[in-house]
Structures are given as structure tokens and as C-alpha cells.
């Protein structure tokens, strides 16, 4: 075994250990497995060296193409300050486990307490947990929170919420006795009339998204009042970078805010890992899913941090827990904290401003293209919907061949939207690149 990777014993050591156990071979230790159950095949290819493995991974990565990126849809191509990698790359952070033993885990615990604080401040809410899996599952967790809190079993959701989040929510709930009602969007915004029709005191929670999948930014304060009037909770999925400019969930009276933390210092990485966040009004804390870090003191009065309200959790409550979460996205949440602390209070505002300015520039540029119109009636942040004179699918496919990921065609996700395209512009895109997008689109439309 001393020729294997990462199994350190020398043959002599192995012999000593076997002797101490009182067996003559390692194979004997597998005697508890009935022989007829033993694996008959094991078709894993032979191993290789670290060097060869890395070379192989490089060739896997090279199997993807680099594209000029104007797509979002939940994951966003933002700047990640170099400190994020360096600090989250401290081995003491990333090779530790969930901080069950607080005395030797204050690094993780304090950082996650700081993370919770950042999320509370960002969302304008009182309490945050220490992360969820991703933004989509966070929507489902918020819905389940509403079900628990109200004891009702109906969820209403705006069709403007990301189709992925809606799908995940429905998957989570399909085997529960829950009714899920979706409100068909009206011009890329929540159809408030339709919502009013279904909002009654059987509704546990109403889920909206801001900015929504079309890019539209909405005000939900009034909605919050209506929802609260029915004893239900208003749940909002938000894009954290937008909160540098856009009214926060807390300011709108939202009860539970969730979202995906990818944009906060986590690379696109073909979709993960990122993290979900969830923040809520104080009164809802005992119904929160996942880990929560709390401040306390030791006998000498020294401040410290612990996993708290563990009585909600699966390792104590088992099937009565508020969620099944165990391992979560701690390191990604830490990256989020480092990101937010690195750009800082003013920086987040500035970054949000850059996003919006670039997107507005792009909007104007694209609107100049003959036949292209911009979805009217809604303010937007860094994503917006344009209507093309032909189906977006084909246009996007053509532009891909030219190295531009021009946006997400809406036809895949909404009826009667074949010509609609959602375009995303982050602070990383330069004016030149935006001009290239416009030119590329114009050319693609000429074909």
C-alpha cells in the first residue's frame, strides 16, 4: 500500500497494526461482509499521478468554450476581489468541519456570525441563518417556513420568479399536501389583480422575486400589507448585488428574504458551489431552516460564538426538525462575507451603480437596432428584456457561434415569448464589449 496515494503506512507498519488487531491480513477485516455480497466487478480505470490527473482536468476544462457573457438567469459574472480566494483558501477554514466544537472552531463561528450580520444588513431583516444550499432551494425553504409558521398549506408564487426556483419549489413540495398557485406574469411584472383574486386566509405565503426573471424591479410594500392582512407571509427572492441600489426586503415589509449568494464572491463554476441565504423577521427565528450562529460568553465572560437553537435541527429533532440540512455551503458563505467586506459599504453601492449604468447603456444600444424593442413599463437593474423581430432561440444560437452568449431566450420558459430575450450586463462588461454585443445582434438579425 505504500505506493498508493495518500495512504501512508509502510508494509512494516501495516504488519505491526495487523498484529495488534490480531488478524493476519487486511482482508480479514472485511469478513463481516458476507462473501456472497462482495463486489464481483470494480470497473474503475487504473489510477495515475497527481501531475497526470491535473493535466487531464485541464483538458476537460479546455473542452468548454470561452464566450463573451451577457447571460444571467440567477448566476452572474461579477468581479471577485483576489482577497476572496486567498482568505477563503486558508486551510484552517476550508479543511474544518461544521463547527460543532466551539472552542476550537471560533474562526468559522465568528466568520459565520459576521456573515449573518452582513445578510441581515443587506436585506434589512433581523435574523439570518448561516447559509442554505442555493437560491432556488432557498425559495423552497422559505415556502416551507411559511407553511410551518401559518399551519396553512397553500403557496402562491409570482410567475416572474425564476423558473428554476419555481421548479425546485414544486419539486420540494410535490409529495406534501400543498397547493402551489402560479400567477402568470403581465408584461414582465407581477399581475397584481390575479394575485388579489387568489390571496385569502388559506394562503401560507406569497413568493415574489426582485429583480424578477425578466429583469424588472418592483415595489412590494403594498403587497406586503395585503399579504399580512390575510395572515400570510411575504417571501422575496432577491439578487444581493442589486441591494446596493434597490429598496431592501426589510424596507418593503417582506417577512422572509432569500436569494443566491453566487454573485457575492463565488465563481460561476458551471453552476456551483454557491450558497443560498435566508433572512427573516425576528419572530420567525425558531422556524428558520439550517444552522444559526449565536453570540454568548464563557465562564470568564469572554465573548464567543456557538451553533444555537440546535433544537430546530435534524441531529436533535430528527424528523421533526425545521429542515434536513446538515452540510451546507459554509465556505461559500464565508466567501460572500469576505466579498461584502472587501467591497464594503460604499463599494456595494458603487458596484450596483456600475451594473445599472452598463445595463442602461446596453439597453439604449440595443434599442437602436432596427426591429428591436425594449420591454417597457418596468425599471430594471442589470438585466432587461428585449423583443427581437424573430425568435430569440435562433438568434442566440447564431451569436454563440460567434463567441457571444447574448442572453437567455424567454420562449423556453414562458408562453408566447419566443421573440423575447433577457440580457444581463454586469460591471465586468466594458463599453466595447457591449458595443460588440449590439453589433453582433444586429448582424445576427440581418441573417
Amino acid at each position: 500500500m505504500n505506493d498508493s496515494h495518500y495512504c501512508p503506512h509502510t508494509p512494516e507498519e501495516e504488519k505491526e497494526m495487523l498484529a495488534a488487531i490480531g488478524v493476519s491480513s487486511v482482508e480479514e477485516l472485511f469478513a463481516p461482509i458476507p462473501s456472497d455480497l462482495r463486489a464481483k466487478t470494480f470497473n474503475i480505470p487504473p489510477g495515475m499521478s497527481e501531475f497526470e490527473t491535473f493535466a487531464r482536468m485541464q483538458s476537460v476544462a479546455a473542452g468548454n468554450s470561452e464566450l463573451l457573457n451577457f447571460i444571467g438567469g440567477g448566476f452572474y459574472d461579477h468581479i471577485i476581489p483576489a482577497v476572496v480566494d486567498h482568505l477563503s483558501g486558508r486551510a484552517e477554514f476550508y479543511t474544518a468541519y461544521t463547527p460543532y466544537q466551539p472552542e476550537c472552531s471560533q474562526g468559522t463561528l465568528q466568520a459565520l456570525f459576521e456573515y449573518q450580520t452582513a445578510i441581515c444588513r443587506l436585506t434589512g431583516l433581523d435574523v439570518s441563518n448561516a447559509s442554505l444550499y442555493d437560491g432556488a432551494t432557498a425559495c423552497a425553504e422559505a415556502a416551507m417556513m411559511a407553511l410551518r409558521v401559518t399551519g396553512r398549506n397553500k403557496i402562491v408564487m409570482d410567475g416572474c420568479v425564476s423558473p428554476f426556483s419555481r421548479q425546485v419549489l414544486k419539486t420540494y413540495l410535490f409529495n406534501l399536501n400543498v397547493e402551489v398557485i402560479e400567477i402568470v406574469p403581465l408584461d414582465g411584472l407581477l399581475n397584481r389583480n390575479e394575485l388579489a383574486k387568489v390571496l385569502d386566509d388559506s394562503v401560507a405565503g406569497v413568493l415574489v422575486q426582485n429583480p424578477n426573471f425578466f429583469g424588472g424591479v418592483e415595489e412590494f410594500s403594498e403587497l406586503a400589507d395585503q399579504v399580512h392582512g390575510q395572515g400570510a407571509l411575504l417571501l422575496a427572492s432577491v439578487y444581493p448585488i442589486s441591494l446596493g441600489l434597490v429598496k431592501s426586503p426589510g424596507e418593503m415589509g417582506v417577512d422572509v428574504a432569500v436569494g443566491d449568494g453566487q454573485s457575492l464572491g463565488n465563481p460561476l463554476s458551471f453552476g456551483g458551489p454557491s450558497f443560498g441565504f435566508i433572512a427573516a423577521k425576528k419572530s420567525l427565528i425558531r422556524n428558520m431552516p439550517g444552522r444559526i450562529i449565536g453570540e454568548t460568553i464563557d465562564k470568564q465572560g469572554r465573548r464567543g460564538y456557538v451553533l444555537t437553537l440546535q433544537a430546530r435541527e435534524q441531529h436533535i429533532k430528527r424528523h421533526k426538525a425545521t429542515s434536513n440540512i446538515c452540510s451546507n455551503q459554509g465556505l461559500c458563505a464565508l466567501r460572500g462575507l469576505i466579498f461584502l467586506s472587501s467591497v464594503g459599504k460604499q463599494g456595494l453601492v458603487a458596484m450596483a451603480g456600475l451594473n445599472r449604468d452598463k445595463a442602461e447603456y446596453a439597453k439604449a444600444k440595443l434599442a437602436e437596432i432596427p426591429g428591436v424593442t425594449v420591454l417597457q413599463g418596468a425599471a430594471s437593474f442589470n438585466e432587461f428584456t428585449v423583443f427581437l423581430p424573430k425568435p430569440a432561440r435562433g438568434v442566440v444560437a447564431v451569436m454563440l457561434e460567434n463567441g457571444i452568449a447574448a442572453g437567455v431566450p424567454l420562449g423556453e420558459y414562458y408562453e408566447d415569448s419566443d421573440n423575447a430575450l433577457v440580457v444581463t450586463v454586469t460591471e465586468k462588461r466594458t463599453r466595447k464589449e457591449i458595443d460588440r454585443l449590439a453589433k453582433g445582434l444586429e448582424e445576427a438579425l440581418c441573417n
Binding site: 498508493s4 495512504c7 501512508p8 488487531i21 461482509i33 455480497l37 470494480f42 474503475i44 489510477g47 497526470e52 491535473f54 482536468m57 476544462a61 470561452e66 457573457n69 468581479i79 482568505l87 486558508r90 477554514f93 476550508y94 479543511t95 461544521t98 472552542e103 476550537c104 466568520a111 459565520l112 450580520t117 452582513a118 441581515c120 444588513r121 433581523d126 444550499y133 432551494t137 425546485v168 409529495n175 446596493g244 424596507e251 443566491d260 465563481p267 453552476g271 456551483g272 444552522r291 449565536g294 454568548t296 464563557d298 435534524q314 434536513n324 446538515c326 451546507n328 459554509g330 464594503g344 456595494l348 458603487a350 456600475l354 449604468d357 425599471a379 442566440v396 454563440l400 437567455v408 466594458t430
Partner: protein, 483 residues
């Protein structure tokens, strides 16, 4: 240590952003504007770096401490794997979902596909989805697949229960509950496995699935597992395999061969991803053929020309369990780990993990009560009941270990063992490290007799002592008030 917010100075700027090269846009309508900027930290980059660098040092971690945390498989993970995952940082997942987009993602889609096949071989399953984001998420996904299966057969209405042994991990019943089932818990027999008789009594046609860990959380392989599976199947209940303990059995036995229908794998335990202080992990789920139609979307399939495509609109699917393709970065590490170790390497991992656990078990059983004294797999579970006679609890021993620079084993789990001390050394520790740990464990046992107070007082070498958890739970101070 101060919080980052306590180190902030109003007006201090962080990282510099690019200057704008476009006009300033008209402001958002007033009613959409945020009133007050979020009160994030305002620190210099140096202060930021010092803060988190110093903070990191307040953790024990695998790279600095032996970390025999049972059930968590705290092995050393090769640094190359971190580098490998970084190669994929700039790739946007939506690309693959664009019309014609798969063509531009053959590298990553291919890797996920290949990883699925490797995991399918390791677990003896027919197909694997890489979408679930952790073990528990895999459990929920798996049980939802079970539900979809029963639904498709038209008998979901009568399927009300999921059976778990009382030794099971808390996530098992929690996941099943979230997926809409009621839980039946079967006690463990004195021989360390789920009581076969009680299990038989519990089984009815109303049971949708039986969830088991094998080896179980006592580190024991259940010799009756096939029989259990046969009984379950006779009631049209599916067998769910919690793969958290896969590190014990690679190449030795395959869940799919011994009657399991659904498996999740904790990639972060067995396959090359460090635990990140609480994630990210990944919990791919493998299934037998009958369950393939229900797998989450998007599902990676090959077309006639061998190109990888995404199936996104299969109406029998349970839908989506997460945004995109799962925690891809974790998958990249797992894939690299598996191809690097290869067949022989993976077998050795399991052999050496089992060797180390048995060695510790033998060396410590004179000092600690061993409730199930038999050959274990990759971990062994002691009880501090001997020490309790001196008023010393498992937690006291844990805290003593901290003072000696060891991360404690898992304590008080599995719940069926009183004062449980669950030790999983993993295969990556050297004999010297294991021997040193054994010494300290013996010292703890001796100190429990000679000076129990010393154990109650531990830890004394850390920046803080034992914390007041009641106060934390009562005050619910979960967000910094300063700043």
C-alpha cells in the same frame, strides 16, 4: 477578538472598482430606491486580510490537527484537487441551457457524465444525478424519487411511511419527513444492527422505503442486509442507501448488488473535497433502472452522435432539486480524485480506513467501554460509561482532547450509545499520528480517574473556554448590533 464591523471606520473604502466607461444612468424611481446603504464593513484591505487570517487560526482543521470526527470522514484532501476545481471558475452554467449551448460545454457536461458513470460503478447503480447539493439533499432527492416511483405505479396514496433504524443519522428521518413521509424507527439489537424481528413487524405495504447506512453509524456491516432488502421489496418498498460511510467499502461491496435501489454519495466525505467549515459538499444520487425516468432535470444524456445533450422537459421527472448541475466544483474534485486514485487506489482507501479504525478500537478497548465489540469497518464507537462512574462525560473527554491539540471524535452520536465517542481516523493518517492520538485518549481515561475536575475544566488552552449555550439560545443574538 473584535468583529469586522467593530474594526470599521465610516468612509473607509474597500477594493477599488473599475471606473465607469458608460454614462451615468437616470436614477431608479424613488420608490424603488434603497434609503440607507447596507451597513457593511468599512475596512482597509490590510485590515480585512489580517482579520480573516487571524480568524482562520482560531479553527482546528484537518491541515493542522488530527480530526477523527466519526461519520464525517475528515480525510486529507489533495491540494491539486483544489487547483483542478479552480479551472472551471469562469464557466457560466446557463451556457449549457441556451439553444445549441451544449456544444460549448462538452468538457463540463462530459465530466459530469463520466463522474456519474464512475459513481454508478462504485455504488452498483444504473444512473446517477449529480444535482443534489449535499448528503441530506441527496436523501431528500432520493426519497422524492421513491415517491415519484410509487406515484407512477399508482400506489403512492397508500405509501405513508419510511422506515429507519434508530442508529440512523438525523438527516435520514428529517429528509424523509420533508419529502412527505411519516417515520417508523426500528431499534438496534444487541448485536449492533437493526433488530430484524422488529423490522419485520414494522414492514407493511404502507412502507415506501427503508433508509439504511451500511456499514451503519456504529461502524458495523449488517450481515442481514440482503434479507432486509428482500423483505422490503416484498412490500414494494424501496431500499435507500445513505452513502455517508462509503469510505469503508469501495471495491469491496456495492449497495446496488445487495438490494439497494437508491443511493446518495457524500462526495465531500469520500471523494476529495474538504468540508469547508460546513460545506459545500455534494450528494449525487444513484438509482436502479426503474427509477431513471424520475431523475431530476436537466439530465445529461448522449445523442446519436455521442454528443452530450441536456434533457430538460421529461414530464415524468421529479423536476429540479437545485438551480443547475449541482455543486460542480465539488464534482470536479471528486472526478479528479477518482481518476487519480483509480481502481487500486480506491480499494486501498477503504482497506486502510478499516485497518486504522480497527487498530484504534483494539488499542483503546481496555480503556473505554466498547458496547459492540466486533470487527468494525471505518469507524468505531466507544462509550464513556466507564468514565461516567467518575462523573466524567464524553463531552469532558472531548474538551480535554482539544487542549491536547486533537479535534474530538463525534460525541453523543449515534444516540443509541450512551455517552458515545465515535472515532473515524480515515486512511490518510500515519501510524505515528494514530499512535499519538491513542496515547492522548489513554491519558484522558487515566485523568478521568485521577483528576476528573481537570476534564471538567477543559479546555484551558483555547482563546475561550466552554460557552454558555443556554444564554445563546435564550438571547438569540445572531446579528451584530454595532456599527
Amino acid at each position: 477578538m473584535q468583529l469586522i464591523y467593530e474594526k470599521s471606520t465610516p468612509g473607509r473604502r474597500g477594493v477599488k472598482l473599475p471606473a465607469s466607461d458608460v454614462p451615468v444612468a437616470a436614477a431608479l424611481p424613488k420608490e424603488l430606491q434603497r434609503k440607507e446603504s447596507a451597513d457593511l464593513a468599512e475596512v482597509s484591505e490590510l485590515d480585512l486580510v489580517r482579520h480573516f487570517t487571524i480568524l482562520s487560526r482560531r479553527n482546528f482543521s484537518v491541515d493542522t490537527n488530527f480530526y477523527p470526527l466519526g461519520s464525517c470522514t475528515m480525510k486529507y484532501n489533495a491540494k491539486m484537487l483544489e487547483n483542478a476545481a479552480g479551472l472551471f471558475a469562469p464557466l457560466h452554467p446557463m451556457t449549457a441551457l441556451l439553444p445549441g449551448g451544449e456544444e460549448f460545454c462538452q468538457g463540463t457536461l462530459g465530466m459530469l457524465y463520466d463522474l456519474g458513470q464512475l459513481l454508478a460503478d462504485i455504488t452498483g447503480m444504473d444512473e446517477v444525478t449529480t444535482q443534489p447539493l449535499a448528503g441530506a439533499h441527496g436523501e431528500m432527492t432520493g426519497i422524492l424519487l421513491v415517491a415519484a416511483y410509487h406515484k407512477a405505479k399508482g400506489n403512492q396514496a397508500k405509501k405513508k411511511y419510511v422506515v429507519v433504524p434508530d442508529s440512523s443519522h438525523g438527516t435520514n428521518p428529517a429528509s424523509a419527513a420533508i419529502a412527505g413521509y411519516e417515520i417508523i424507527t426500528v431499534p438496534t439489537a444487541p448485536y449492533g444492527d437493526m433488530d430484524l424481528e422488529l423490522f419485520k413487524q414494522a414492514m407493511t405495504d404502507e412502507v415506501a422505503a427503508v433508509m439504511m447506512t451500511c456499514p451503519n453509524t456504529l461502524g458495523l456491516f449488517n450481515p442481514h442486509i440482503k434479507e432486509i432488502a428482500d423483505i422490503a421489496h416484498s412490500h414494494d418498498a424501496l431500499m435507500y442507501y445513505d452513502g455517508a460511510n462509503l469510505n469503508a467499502i469501495m471495491g469491496k461491496v456495492k449497495p446496488g448488488d445487495i438490494g439497494f435501489d437508491v443511493v446518495h454519495v457524500n462526495l465531500h466525505k469520500t471523494f476529495g473535497t474538504p468540508h469547508g467549515g460546513g460545506g459545500p459538499g455534494a450528494g449525487p444520487v444513484g438509482v436502479k433502472k426503474a427509477l431513471i425516468p424520475f431523475l431530476p432535470q436537466p439530465r445529461i444524456v448522449t445523442d446519436d452522435e455521442g454528443q452530450l445533450r441536456l434533457e430538460t422537459k421529461n414530464s415524468s421527472s421529479i423536476g429540479r432539486t437545485a438551480n443547475f448541475f449541482g455543486n460542480f466544483g465539488v464534482m470536479a474534485k471528486a472526478y479528479a480524485y477518482i481518476i487519480m486514485l483509480g481502481r487500486e487506489g480506491l480499494i486501498q482507501v477503504s482497506e486502510q480506513a478499516v485497518l486504522n479504525a480497527n487498530y484504534i478500537k483494539e488499542k483503546l478497548k481496555a480503556y473505554y467501554d466498547l458496547p459492540y465489540d466486533m470487527t468494525c469497518m471505518h469507524e468505531c464507537v466507544f462509550s464513556a460509561s466507564k468514565q461516567l462512574q467518575h462523573g466524567v462525560h464524553a463531552i469532558d473527554i472531548a474538551k480535554f482532547l482539544i487542549d491536547r491539540g486533537y479535534h474530538p471524535p463525534t460525541v453523543y452520536f449515534p444516540m443509541i450509545v450512551k455517552e458515545a465517542i465515535m472515532i473515524e481516523p480515515t486512511e490518510t493518517e500515519s501510524k505515528a499520528a494514530i499512535d499519538a492520538f491513542i496515547e492522548v485518549m489513554i491519558e484522558a481515561a487515566q485523568t478521568a480517574e485521577s483528576n476528573p475536575q481537570a476534564l471538567h475544566d477543559a479546555p484551558v488552552t483555547m482563546p475561550i473556554g466552554r460557552l454558555d449555550e443556554t444564554k445563546a439560545a435564550r438571547e438569540q443574538n445572531v446579528c451584530c448590533a454595532v456599527g
